[in-house]
């Protein structure tokens, strides 16, 4: 029985121990952390990735993601005020990517889907 359970237990331990590797296992939704919202995108072909959204006037340059130690995985931690924020990723300066995973989505009216991240007020 123990032998049968071992692979299952090992997988759980590996996921728990390797938070930064989570992106290698699948898409990661933006997570609210004490430092801001953590955005992670896995895109092996990207030379650059930026975050554009309702919080930065949809700028394609103001919030770049940094490459991580894992090839093809990009990350940014962005302080955002409480509320609902729409966003998309911009790959290589001009390719708009709908987030693979988000708390919710909304059609943008132009044929794409914006991701939604909700920041709850800490004092609430």
């Amino acid at each position: 029985m123990r032998l049968l359970l071992m692979p299952f237990v090992m997988t759980i331990v590996a996921i728990a121990a390797c938070g930064s590797c989570a992106s290698a296992l699948g898409p990661v939704a933006p997570a609210v952390t004490p430092d801001g919202v953590r955005f992670v995108l896995a895109h092996p072909d990207a030379r650059s990735v930026a975050l554009a959204g309702s919080f930065n006037q949809w700028s394609t340059v103001s919030h770049p993601l940094a490459p991580t130690n894992t090839p093809g995985v990009w990350i940014a931690v962005v302080p955002l005020p409480p509320g609902e924020h729409l966003f998309m990723y911009v790959v290589n300066g001009d390719r708009w990517i709908s987030p693979p995973l988000a708390e919710d989505y909304a059609e943008d009216g132009f044929g794409s889907r914006n991701g939604i991240v909700v920041v709850r007020s800490p004092e609430r």
Partner: protein, 259 residues
């Protein structure tokens, strides 16, 4: 007229229709900015319109297409503004702008005038003090999530109104709708029900309690752990009694061997 000629004329007419620019559609960024200015001059919140224009331009969308989206958005803002002014004439800016923006978003998500009015009617009927414009807008937006999940609007209204009766704050009402939408599969397949949710709220469950037991992401268990497939193990035999230590005779003193 021969068929070939008719086809040529038809193609020419179609071509002319598309070739001639529509005079009412925006041709430039300035035209779009004018739309935002017009909305602001009519007392509508301009921020969502300006943001949508910036979004469209950043995404490389042609101004004509942005204008169509902006006009639709303006229509929702006008309807929301009319409703807020009618129901809450005393609400001034900036509270009105916030309520109008949220209510317009709910209209954009498919909520109707009648559904919002019904929401307002039921919440006023609860005997509590009248709700604010912000409360109503949050309730409408919360209900719009439930409607987006294609669940019963009547049952969803019951859930939202019960939340308001129990004193849920605006952001809690929004989260209530979001949580239901996130679990839409459970509600559609009958694993969860909006009526049960309403009853739980009526019993006094707080927002943080409502979905607590389901917040943990389900982990797929291996087949050997699933109930029904578990292998029955025989009872483990009791451990044998440890024998009492045997008293051993004293070892005789070692004799030195003569060399």
């Amino acid at each position: 007229m021969r068929l070939k000629t008719r086809l040529r004329v038809a193609l020419l007419l179609i071509g002319m229709t598309f070739a001639v620019p529509h005079p009412s559609l925006a041709q430039s960024v300035d035209d779009l900015r004018r739309l935002a200015d017009d909305a602001a001059a009519r007392g509508l919140p301009a921020a969502p319109i300006s943001n949508k224009i910036r979004e469209g331009l950043a995404k490389g969308v042609p101004p004509q297409r942005i204008e169509l989206v902006v006009r639709q958005m303006t229509l929702h803002l006008e309807n929301a503004d009319r409703m807020v002014r009618e129901m809450y004439p005393a609400t001034g800016r900036p509270a009105r702008d916030a309520a109008v923006t949220l209510l317009a978003e709910s209209f954009g998500s498919g909520m109707t005038f009648d559904e919002v009015r019904e929401l307002n009617r039921q919440s006023q009927a609860s005997g509590k003090p009248p709700i604010s414009a912000d409360d109503l807008a949050s309730a409408a937006k919360g209900l719009s999530f439930i409607k987006e999940a294609k669940l019963s609007v009547a049952d969803g209204t019951g859930v939202i109104v019960e939340g308001m009766k129990q004193g849920f704050l605006s952001h809690q009402i929004l989260d209530l709708g979001r949580e239901v939408k996130r679990r839409e599969g459970d509600y559609r397949t009958g694993r969860a029900s909006l009526r049960d949710l309403r009853d739980a709220i009526a019993r006094g469950d707080r927002p943080e309690q409502l979905f607590r037991e389901r917040r943990v992401e389900p982990v797929e268990r291996p087949a050997t752990m699933r109930p029904g497939t578990a292998v029955e193990r025989p009872n483990r035999p009791e451990a044998p009694q440890r024998p009492q230590p045997v008293e051993r005779p004293q070892r005789p003193e070692q004799r030195q061997q003569p060399r």
